[in-house]
Amino acid sequence: MEEPKFALQMTDITKRFPGVLANDRISLDCKKGEVLGLLGENGAGKTTLMNVLYGMHQPDSGKILINEKEVEITSPSKAIELGIGMVHQHFKLVETLTVLENIVLGIPSNKVFLDLEPIRRRLLELCQEYELYVDPDAEVWKLPVGQQQWVEILKALYRNAQVLVLDEPTAVLTPSESDQLCRAIRRLTSEGRSIIFISHKLREVVEITDRVTIIRDGKLVGTIPTSEATQAKLAHMMVGRPVSIDRRSRPALQQKKPVLVMKDVNALDERGIQALKNFNLTVHAGEIVGVAGVDGNGQKELAECISGLKKPVSGTISVNDTLITDVVADPKFIGFIPEDRQKTGLVMDFSVAENLIIKEYDKEPYAEKRLLNLQNIKEHAQDMIKKYGIKTPTDTVKVSTLSGGNQQKVIIARELDSEPILDIACHPTRGLDMGAVAGVHDVLMKERERGAAVLFVSAELQEILALSDRIIVLFRGEIMGEVDGDTADAFTIGQLMLGQALEEKT
């Protein structure tokens, strides 16, 4: 018999949830040894489609073929049996268990007692084979997030997955880890395994995939060979209109008026380890200072110190010559877009209107004589929804029902509408799709034009390069180097991120 050509075919998959058509007759196929990119904005239906494949949802109609034979995938265990492996965007690892225990979890066997030794041997073989090294006895929560990703991949490989779905695998990886992942993917496909690579990072999709399937609003837009794809073309297909996050021309800074001044700031992280070392930084009015660096090199503490969430051990931080300790609560001074919009930025169970006034709920016009003025709150919310284009059915729905991009708009409206003199934006585009990213960039550029000082923290080099007037690179709590935004290149910044100081320019 001839070897089947297709590892996976999904035909006309339709999946309806109450009130939403998540997948509308979507088809895709993946050949053996092929990397198929699955591209789409958040909410386009990628995750639903993959959950159908993994047996977590049952499709309302449509067919799934594995090795060109029709199958019915009724549960994840069925999917595993059929050789489908999935690495979810939010890891499905039990953090308190060791790597080995996570691997063994759910593997059918007749034994009552755990027999970890053969599993350990097999795991170490797999580590060697794919160059994804992890310590089998480490508890998962102690591993850096990149290695947790390896554990997920190894878990699927241990179950001998022939079709491996990687859902936004690079979102948490450092550049060198991404390279490592690419090598592992090459190795896997050379063995005839197939990879479905879900992402909205176009650069990676273009680099790593053989073909790309693009979906938008639950519908198939098309499938094209990657050799015919450009980033611009993919972006257009994904968003439905031309978008770009390229560097825009900008008027030069007229005068240098310092807004944020940090002098010799030292701060500790949660574990009591020094996170900022003798930190000096000045941000001027009308400039965007990009803060680059591998996550965990002091970015979080930097933002927390300026926003007043964390007290530095020593040093002074002032905004317009006023110590921040005196101005933190004043929305006219600082607008703060925090790193984690769902945990620190918003109260997910509160309505859009409530979230919009959370900074000033006890001040007029929202509160009068200790009672909330619901009419004013509602009017304010409707103004903001219109002004910032927040897509929401009403101002009374829970903010948790909004998409990530619209949640971010709620925060932006709340933080920036008072026209603060300093904006701190921490990973404001994390997890957002292209259209929303471009929207955030628009906002930050407008803030710059308005004359606000903007501190832009991001792990996305491309975005830092697109937005910043000046770029500082953090490494272990210190500024490793500073480069001009107009002349900066990714290579130099990459070197700085790894802690290699710039050679003296002569």
Partner: protein, 308 residues
């Protein structure tokens, strides 16, 4: 003379700890799976009455134990159905079970008036008379009924089950990350049911040992005296670990035994205050230790299979 008091105190410590240890073992599995079975107080109470009644009518201690296990399993199943399948609030469910149990046991006990005056068969002492007569050791250890011995071995078995078996791994994983267990192809619901039913069985057995361990009678209203709640505290203090929880249970048993003795000595302190002693110790232990222990991540939270 004063040594005698200490010996009898140690003897009573073991005896009073036994029911707590049994109940704790079950509760650890339930809470590790994410479900706080607050109904153990009520299930314990029902188990206590069931043990007495079954022992009285059948005149057979084994029948009494089997009947208690069956009752515990049914009550555990009910709690599991409510908290796992119906996703009811676990605190409210527990309170409901406890109130129902208090009312039901009072009513049934009143209807079984003949058991009141009669002492029923209790758990036997397995060691020969000669061993019981050994000074100190005999008095403290060898005159304990078999139930005490089993109760003290059980935490070790529980530790092996929890850390060394596949089922134990499943239970630990379910409480921390149910979605991970679901994606690994296992049934979260099934594992939670098993763990909660296990807590029901052991809670009922704990109640049975409370009545049949020594005294051989049931006291209407407050037979268990909040011991189920003490166990819940002990599980937290013990960081959801069988052996550390066992130590917490023994400390409470020791305090309970001590206060009974102090009452008997005719101390100037009103007995109500002495009765508070074990509970006070528990509260102090809780405030001191709760920080350092690892809480199952979805402890007390409902699991929605549709959320990923």
């Amino acid at each position: 003379m004063s040594y005698d008091i200490i010996f009898s105190w140690l003897q009573a410590t073991l005896r009073w700890s036994a029911p707590l240890l049994l109940v704790a073992v079950g509760e650890i599995f339930s809470e590790r799976s994410g479900i706080i079975n607050m109904g153990i107080e009520g299930i314990m109470l029902c188990g206590a009455l069931c043990g007495i009644a079954a022992s009285f009518y059948s005149q057979n201690i084994l029948v009494a134990v089997l009947a208690t296990i069956a009752l515990g399993a049914i009550m555990g199943l009910a709690v599991a159905y409510l908290t796992v399948s119906r996703r009811t609030n676990q605190v409210v469910t527990g309170l409901m079970v406890n109130m129902l149990a208090t009312g039901a046991t009072n009513l049934l006990f009143a209807m079984m008036s003949e058991t009141r005056s009669t002492r029923v068969g209790t758990f036997p002492i397995i060691f020969p008379q000669a061993m019981q007569k050994i000074p100190v050791l005999g008095e403290i250890f060898f005159c304990q009924p078999i139930s005490t011995w089993i109760a003290f071995i059980l935490p070790f078995i529980a530790a092996v089950v929890l850390y060394k078996t596949k089922w134990g791994l499943n239970v630990r994983a379910v409480g921390d990350h149910p979605q991970a267990v679901a994606t690994a192809g296992l049934s979260v619901i099934k594992i939670k049911y098993q763990a909660v039913i296990c807590s029901g069985i052991f809670a009922a057995l704990g109640g049975c040992v409370l009545t049949l361990g020594e005294v051989g009678y049931f006291a209407s209203g407050g037979m268990t005296g909040g011991r189920g709640f003490i166990v819940m505290a002990a599980v937290v203090v013990g960081g959801w670990d069988p052996l550390r929880t066992a130590i917490a249970c023994i400390i409470f048993g020791a305090a309970d035994a001590a206060q009974l003795r102090l009452q008997g000595m005719g101390s100037v302190i009103p007995y109500q205050f002495l009765q508070m002693l074990p509970y006070l110790i528990t509260v102090v232990a809780l405030t001191g230790m709760v920080k350092s222990s690892h809480v199952p991540k979805t402890w007390g939270a409902a699991y929605d299979p549709d959320s990923h």
